[in-house]
Subunit: 312 residues, 2 copies
């Protein structure tokens, strides 16, 4: 079970009802914050999202509209009593940004651990915190913006169905079932029992993709394959703005929709709207005409994704 | 004529309807921004305040809740086409803060001119921009917080009433009247005419005080003398919180009111509320019982102060 909440859907500058770029992925008591534009804290408060649960802040790039909420959020987490570490993830260039942010915040009562991520090198989330399901991972991928930038795919795999009957037949004590369910083998009376002996075929997990700022590109297309939800750059509304979008390293509503369709994503939420777009809903058809499951994102829009229950 | 707008009235952390510390003073097409907490841009947008008019940003001190809106605002002013210089004023320590902010914003399309101000050394505002009335000045004063901090008194003096009859009698051509009105002497047919010859006694001007974060202190008491409006630290609501207020370098509603009364201020607006204060109006009596002209500030609260018209 994974709850995704858009916190800020504005590009460039905040508007009264549109904070700058940020989204939160919550899984149990844990979570990831994607980007942290100015206004992220207030938006989270408004949306009922508790950012204390964040294990990591995952930055897509270092343009101001994606990072200027960081100093304030880091201080607030400290004021709220955080002592456990917070990972600060992002593409190359992170150390300079972190140095400037740290100069503004001063010392914090918890460790911030900056870590540069490389496209295609996944991060196991149970390395950040034990609360994540086994195998959960964050896969950074290269996007196409004006600066070095990443998008992120969050994957929660789901093991096959556990068979208590099989486990009992193999003599595995109940206390060890959890290890097998987590994919670890166990020793039983001198024998080794493998997970595959007690688990059915792996089931469909959950995956969500946060594009960051990008023009349509192979990295995003691949990352969005079969995704349950794609949060995608939709800076420009109209097809006639494609040249402008390309120039600035962004996408139009239609381009995002076409990519979601081609990738076989289940849902698409448009975000990162230019301040020129007063009401994104006016242009929803630009995306829905191409990909009917497209929706306009807005600050506070949220969905809880459940594992599919396949009927036998 | 001077319009004061509270942009953010929160202390420590932003709340959904309360941005962090900031206030704008507008005079004609010009203005000063006092402090710049996170959310200042969006609050200004909401309140209809155009921050492009700012000639200076006047920081009271460098705690995050007073400065973390800076990087975003500076970038937005650039995106909106600013090319004219912006003064960045504050107490000692400004260069480190400016270095960190600049590292986050990158190059801006207009010059930012940091300038450290010392208590008691006024800044002539016509040095920042020609739009300010003659003699307008910003007077920084020492406040009592946990770090080096300033408050600001903005003064718009008002010359005596100009007498066209006197000017005509002295043979001053109409084109030169403006110079006399601005306090400059003019040469007329070999004679020098002084402003005092054509102006009545100086009239009451306008003054507004922004306390920043402070416990009651002599600097603030002096600055608030006869002020038309005092925007004052009111972090804590209740008298029993005075020890806490003192410890953290803040004031209670009642302390701010007592100071306003003692200083003979005309109006007091409370601001910089602790997040523990859900609705400041519930505690208004704590201030109004001591100083009836006290009002609770809120984001977007605004007043236009006019010069007094004294009836002859």
């Amino acid at each position: 079970m994974l709850t995704i909440t858009l916190l800020g859907t504005a590009a460039t500058m905040p508007l009264p009802d549109r904070a700058l770029s940020a989204a939160f992925a919550a899984c149990g008591g844990h979570g990831l914050l994607w980007d942290c534009g100015e206004g992220t804290q207030a938006a989270a408060h408004r949306a009922g999202v508790n950012l204390m649960r964040a294990d990591a802040i995952c930055l897509t790039h270092y343009h101001g509209d994606h990072i200027f909420g960081l100093p304030g959020l880091l201080q607030t987490l400290g004021a709220q009593g955080r002592t456990r570490p917070l990972a600060l993830l992002g593409p190359e260039g992170l150390s300079d940004i972190w140095a400037a942010v740290r100069a503004l915040t001063g010392p914090l009562p918890y460790p911030v651990k900056p870590q540069v991520l490389m496209p295609g090198q996944p991060l196991a989330l149970d390395a950040l915190s034990e609360g994540w399901p086994a195998g959960a991972r964050l896969v950074p991928f290269a996007t196409k913006h004006r600066v070095k930038s990443l998008g992120y795919r969050l994957e929660l795999p789901r093991a096959g169905k556990f068979s208590p009957e099989q486990a009992r037949a193999l003599g595995v004590p109940v206390q060890q079932w959890k290890l097998l369910q987590k994919g670890q083998s166990v020793a039983v009376e001198g024998r080794t029992v493998q997970p595959v002996q007690v688990l059915g075929a792996p089931r469909r997990g959950l995956s969500v993709v946060f594009s960051g700022d990008t023009a349509p590109c192979p990295g995003l297309l691949q990352a969005a394959q079969d995704a349950d939800l794609l949060l995608c750059d939709a800076t420009y509304a109209l097809p006639e703005q494609e040249a402008q979008a390309r120039q600035w390293g962004h996408s139009t509503f239609g381009q995002s929709a076409a990519l979601a369709a081609q990738a076989g994503a289940k849902r698409l939420w448009l975000t990162h709207y230019s301040p020129m777009i007063t009401d994104p809903e006016e242009y929803a058809e630009q995306a829905q005409g191409i990909f009917p499951a497209a929706e306009c994102g807005f600050d506070g829009k949220s969905i809880t994704l459940q594992y599919e229950e396949v009927q036998p």
